[in-house]
């Protein structure tokens, strides 16, 4: 099963068209293996992106270097998935 240990989901609130374009450039950056849950479209909509653990540092540097305001939505994706799985298992036992 695919694991997401240490992966983070980051929310970026672009404040200008120029920042949207910077984020769109990130979409084509294959090396960091980013997964956009919500793509950069306009300043009115937040951008959510899953960042693999190994790419956290360069992505954060990129965002800071371009004054892109961001916050961490999910600090460790795998922890949330583990909780979800445990809850499902508890529920299945109850139903049985």
């Amino acid at each position: 099963q695919r694991l997401f240990v240490g992966d983070q989901v980051i929310r970026i609130n672009a404040e200008s068209e120029e920042q949207i374009q910077l984020l769109q450039a990130l979409e084509t950056q294959e090396e960091w293996e980013l997964e956009f849950w919500r793509r950069p479209v306009s300043t009115g909509l937040p951008v959510d992106v899953r960042v693999p653990r190994g790419s956290l540092e360069p992505v954060r540097s990129y965002l800071l270097a371009h004054d892109l305001p961001f916050s961490v939505l999910i600090s460790n994706l795998q922890e949330l998935l583990n909780e979800e799985k445990a809850e499902m298992e508890r529920n299945q036992k109850l139903e049985l």
Binding site: F4, E84, N91, E95
Partner: protein
């Protein structure tokens, strides 16, 4: 035999399918489970049909065409139960089902859904093999014959928005297309997604307004108001292209172009921090508020025959 189910929990495909049988058993005069075809990996695709008579116009609702959007499928389960249990006691729903049929496809992408339970919780697409590529799957909401291959869809099989080799190449899409086409009397087509809190209407493949834009916008805004009346959840309303981004090959663009005027897509709630991982405790609140919007749309469809 009947099976109870916890609506405030996420469930496997087998559990959902098994529960469907129970729902049918409990409401034999109202609900039937029909196989609309098989998925790429051979899993049955079951639609619940709510019907009280023959030769009726119909409403279509599908949930979870994107596998990882679990609150969509869970909302489908809750909604099916709501419809079955409220029939006969809710006057408006009763009158609706006395004049129209309702089809509910709870798991529109069964292979992908199973894959999210067993291999990759973040999987979105189908599981079909792409010849010449190591990457599998097609985005089933870029695969419809509506501006197919246009903006907002990828030609790369490794992309999450890969449109596939041809329109309706995905059997999961083709099964629905065949059912809708052969039926010939659907008046509304609603697709349920998660998690951006949107209520959308066509088009996604073009940013031009559809002829029915004023009416669809008005219905959508009223539906979003009804939804917000329960917990204050705020939805944006508009056409796909302008409210998010151009996206070709989408299901409701196809249905609209096929003559189904009341075509809508919903993106259900997040609580701001979870995305595709909305906690199970949020399923019932999400489904409850969504029901108010769905009901408003369906009532409008009932009251505005065309």
């Amino acid at each position: 035999s009947t099976r109870s189910i916890n609506f405030a929990a996420y469930h496997t495909l087998d559990t959902i399918y098994s529960w469907m049988d129970s729902l049918v058993a409990q409401h034999p005069g109202l609900v039937t489970k029909e196989e609309v075809g098989r998925s790429y990996e051979g899993r049955p695709m079951y639609v619940l049909k709510f019907s009280t008579g023959s030769d009726r116009p119909a409403i279509w609702i599908d949930t979870g065409i994107h596998a990882r959007e679990w609150v969509s499928q869970a909302t489908g389960v809750w909604t099916a139960n709501k419809i079955a249990t409220d029939y006969g006691s809710d006057a408006s729903l009763t009158s609706l089902l006395n004049s129209m049929d309702l089809y509910l496809l709870i798991v529109a992408n069964p292979d992908g859904y199973v894959y999210t339970h067993t291999r990759d919780r973040m999987w979105r697409k189908t599981r079909s093999v792409n010849p010449g590529s190591a990457c599998r799957g097609v985005d089933p909401n870029r695969n419809w014959d509506a501006g197919f291959g246009g903006p907002g869809a990828s030609t790369n099989p490794c992309s999450d928005s890969y449109h596939g080799p041809a329109a309706h190449s995905e059997v999961e899409v083709k099964n629905v297309v065949d059912l809708i086409t052969s039926h010939g009397n659907f008046k509304s087509f609603i697709s349920v997604h998660a998690y951006s809190q949107l209520l959308m209407y066509p088009y996604g493949y073009s940013c031009s307004h559809v002829p029915d834009q004023p009416e669809l916008d008005s219905v959508g805004r009223a539906a979003a108001q009804k939804l917000a009346s329960l917990y204050g959840t705020s939805y944006r309303v508009g056409n796909i292209c302008n409210i998010i981004y151009p996206a070709s090959g989408g299901s409701i663009d196809w249905s609209y172009d096929a003559g189904i005027k009341y075509s809508f897509a919903l993106e259900l709630r997040d609580t701001g921090r979870y995305g595709f991982l909305l906690p199970a405790s949020q399923i019932v609140p999400t489904a409850s508020e969504t029901w108010l919007a769905l009901k408003h749309i369906m009532e409008h469809v009932r009251d505005h025959p065309y």
